[in-house]
Symmetry: C5
Subunit: 307 residues, 5 copies
């Protein structure tokens, strides 16, 4: 590992409360792949097999049924990391040891049973992450679910354990629950709140969805209007979310969502960059298309962030 860039050092300074083990793995994340040293990240996540089932996830590009393919894609595209559930990492971690930083996704949902107040179930452990050579763990919370408390407590325990062995904690913070409207799940006030919650829970890296200009909660709407918080453009909203995560001192990355056109996606990437976002997590828009196309798109995204 080479000397860290000034930008990486600056980012790490926001994590001075962590032990050197966590700092080292954060540095590994920030210093790998095409974006190494820039302070930006593009991560390949593949948990759709669990979330949506195999055919919906992989049939459009059947190579992706194979765990080895996904490691190869992350490596070839120069991603900062590859994040997946236990089975997929077990399937390739030995054969691709050291090729790309790994994040073990410790909990997952599936769509064979669905509930208005969802909970995500633990399917891996900190011990699994260590034996598979990962730099960090990933965990999803659903702020707004009646069962969110169970996830917060489990995340708290896993975070304490993970940090104690030097692993980075990446939190997927996805508002969802019976007291939120569908539109509210991506409302700017709610997404900013989700980022704040993850940061307060001790997350090192926070992943949220791109926020809309909708305002969900009455008490919040009054404040946004009174304080004239700018939320018109996507870049404005990204900036507000990043501010909501300790004034930019926590790494916040944004998810790409479902398959959209390349240009629409790159437009989003530019807004993330302009708003001071730290990067993207690109799943369905990469592994659901043929390898060459996927690599090309991921590189185009990285070009925006480097730009």
């Amino acid at each position: 590992m080479k000397k860290m860039t000034e930008r990486v050092k600056q980012i790490l300074s926001g994590y001075a409360g962590e032990n050197p083990g966590v700092l080292t793995n954060l540095a590994r994340l920030l210093d790998h792949g095409t974006l190494a040293g820039t302070g930006k990240l593009v991560i390949l996540p593949v948990d759709q097999g669990v979330e949506h089932g195999p055919a919906r996830s992989f049939a459009s590009n059947p190579a992706a049924y194979d765990p080895d393919y996904l490691f190869e894609l992350a490596v070839e595209a120069g991603c900062n990391a590859y994040a997946a559930p236990l089975g997929f990492l077990e399937g390739g971690a030995a054969g691709h040891a050291g090729e790309v930083p790994l994040i073990l996704k410790l909990n997952n949902s599936n769509s064979l049973y669905e509930s208005a107040d969802p909970i995500s179930v633990q399917t891996g452990s900190v011990g699994d992450a260590l034996r598979l050579g990962c730099v960090g763990i990933g965990y999803t919370i659903y702020p707004g679910s009646a069962l969110a408390g169970q996830m917060y407590e489990q995340l708290r325990e896993l975070t304490e354990e993970a940090k104690s062995v030097g692993l980075v904690v990446v939190v997927w913070s996805y508002p969802r629950g019976s007291q939120l409207s569908k539109e509210g799940e991506t409302a700017i006030d709610v997404v900013a709140y989700a980022a704040q919650l993850a940061a307060q829970l001790g997350a090192n890296v926070i992943k949220v969805k791109l926020p809309s200009a909708h305002l969900e909660q009455d008490a919040a709407r009054k404040v946004y209007q009174r304080e004239k918080i700018p939320i018109e453009t996507l870049a404005d909203r990204v900036r507000h979310v990043v501010q909501s995560a300790f004034d930019g001192k926590r790494i916040v990355i944004f998810s790409g969502g479902g398959k959209i056109s390349d240009e629409a996606l790159l437009e989003q990437i530019r807004a993330i960059r302009d708003g001071g976002g730290f990067g993207s997590i690109i799943g369905r828009n990469s592994f659901q298309r043929p390898r060459a196309q996927a690599v090309k798109l991921l590189r185009a995204i990285m070009d925006v962030y480097k730009g």
Copy 2:
């Protein structure tokens, strides 16, 4: 133990993420009995005493009330392994030590209380499996049950413990629950999903039911039609399920179901073979008939797989 065949080595290469203890017990499974070295498996499972009660399970062949009988049947027929709950293994493991690889079924259901969202209860431990000389543990999940999360978390803990002491993890993945239709329990999209879930949860060997051509979930149906996934013949469907378990890198075996005619059963076996399935688990079609007939049928099945 002799040198492994090329086919067994190839299968084991998909498990490079496991420790040598797990690989050794996987090799024991694949290198035992009539099908040793072929990469195919026929396993004798006997948990019907718990699931359906003694008379429904054993009255048609009363010899099977006796735990010793079932060990003898598995040995005589040349099965790769015998899988049963705690009591049945305790009843014969000492007297038949070393004669056949054993799988301790760690959870079970019974039919004295039934619920639309079932859960299977833990009735044995990893420690029990070790003291009884087993090569692996077995565990049932019911994807689609409202209580599935409890089973996933328990399986996760047992899997971590089992693998850490070198035991193979065999998962029975049987979709069932209040949001699934009866027909949906064996729908091709749902069975493929069940196989994917088991693989992602870290299963080394996956057991599913033979899938029908029915498509249960709307979101999945669109994909099967758009991508023209072949599901007309049973062999097609077996092939899709095997692909859904990490592109054939996980051992997937199929259950025989209730008593059917020998010819119908062998027809299924041929489809499993033609679709690239790894073998069968044959319970009621073996222990519910007289010993000689059972052995004859099991050998006929093995002949198909060897063929």
Copy 3:
């Protein structure tokens, strides 16, 4: 301890899967009291104080309020063992140390709160059984209760712990729950199922109620009729229950139930003997009558079993 009889050795051979500690305590049970060496058992159980309250249990023979009395009764009558909850054993175990094998009943119910789906609560531990000098633990399950799974899991943990320290596991298997009719609780199909469940859960000794000729479950009724399983006489039904517990390789004993006439009780005992049952557990018919009468009746019962 003297050399075991051939019958005792034969019974123990069915438990070859257990460690020498468990075998030793099983031998102690089978080699104590009037029936020592015969392979038959008569056990004195006194948990009615908890189950029904003190007056209903002891007012008809007030001597039985005193914990010492019950030890004395078991010793004088020559019972194989005395089984009771924590308080009663603590009350006499020191003063009667070594006089009679003890079984600590680890869970209990009471009738101050009742539910259609009952659960029995843990009130003692394996550690308690050891410090009180017991040969085994007792545990009640209610197959058919919506909460049965909690009892199975607790029994599983206690069984693993008990056997690891050489204690015998005695399971009271009493079907009860919202999906069973009152008549169904003692139906032959259900009692046989209860015996099978206990055996599969690892019980060394199984206690069930005497079965009636009623058939509760439709799926079972068809099999009993098709296979012409004899269930007309009580001896037939006892034979079927014993067969259902691993073809006679598990010790199955039967409860006496409420107070009935001596002759009616002895008639039942003869049926148990003729059906191959291993013995009886006689509570209310012994401690609820004056000492001399109780001893006389218990000896008459033992005479039947010796006969």
Copy 4:
């Protein structure tokens, strides 16, 4: 500590099943204060601050807001012990070390949320009792509550832990729940049942309310009538409750209840004495009146017991 009296030795002989640590602390309880050596006990309990709130508990005698006051009251009046929750014992245990045996009340209820099926919550530990120099722990069960099972299991665990470190276990057994009438909470059959349950759960000292002549349960009523159990006078009922706790081999004490006239209270004390009760626990009738009056009353009570 001086040589024990014959009466104390006789009482201790009923506890021969306990280890010397528990016997020593029982002896300390029985050999302290005005009633030392008589086999009778008067204990000062102060958990009303938690149960009813501070003003309802202490406003009539504001000195009692102060934790030190309550120690002083117990010492001055010559009580056998002082029982209170964590905060009150922490408030005075150092300053009054060794002055009076202490019982840490390990669970408590409050009246800010009430339910037909109550549960009492753990608010202290065995470790707390040890570090505060206590001779025992106190624990409340509500037999008859739908949640009673949770309290029995928690009591079981705490009892095992407490006895293993030599602490005495005092159980407050207060029937309460949705299947009991208000009158039934103090019905003689129910109070006797409550005493039996506590004894079977391993309690060393049992505290119940004074029973009325009401009979709550149908099945019990028949037995009381058939067996002609005397329950007309309070002394009769006390005698029956004491008999129900292992024929007088467990220490049973009675609560004074709400504030009543001194004469009425002393009348109750005489009945407890005449019925063979072991003593009283006097809370609201002592700390809710001025110190001098309280001491005078407590001494009058002790005089009755000594008489």
Copy 5:
């Protein structure tokens, strides 16, 4: 650390039951900042980011999005301590090590899901408090919630653990639940009860809301009227609450609540002082205004307490 003042020694004498580690950290709290040695405390708490979301908490003074800002504010204003959840303390504890005593708030609620019977979720641990250099832990209970028992048990465990490693326990005791009216949450009887509960649970420092003259519970109202407890003025009520916390032997501080005018706030502070309260916890009235104004107000508050 210098020699303690007489007032501090007097306060510490009420905590003689605690170990020297806890006493040391209590002394650190009482001997820091502008009010050092006076026996009064002003603490800066910032958990509103979790409770109300980032914009509602910080948009009016955006500097407060930054964790470092809040440390600087506490230091500059001369607060006795700064209390916050995990993320905010991790964000500044290294950079501001030793500058101000820290209290890690171990549980938190948020407003994305709300319930009539709320529960606060654990989001930090005693281990976290130690690694971050804190003097104590903070924990919120909601007396009156149907789920309060879960919080009491968790607080009990955390308190035992925290004190065993010398950490001070600060309890936020906020009545809330389906059996309390909105007005009742700050009723004098209920707030006094809440203070008593926290004290009995072992809290070293108790934080309650300022009580109104409303009386919520019928049983309490009778006592307040009969005993003529003075509750007309705020100072009266503060005095009663302090009395309810062990007659002034527990440190009780009061929260400032939402943003109000400076004069109104100072009026409250004078009442707290006159009633014998130990100080204030000032959140929204400090961090939601510009730094200079906030420091000025906090100093004015401290002047009242010093006065």
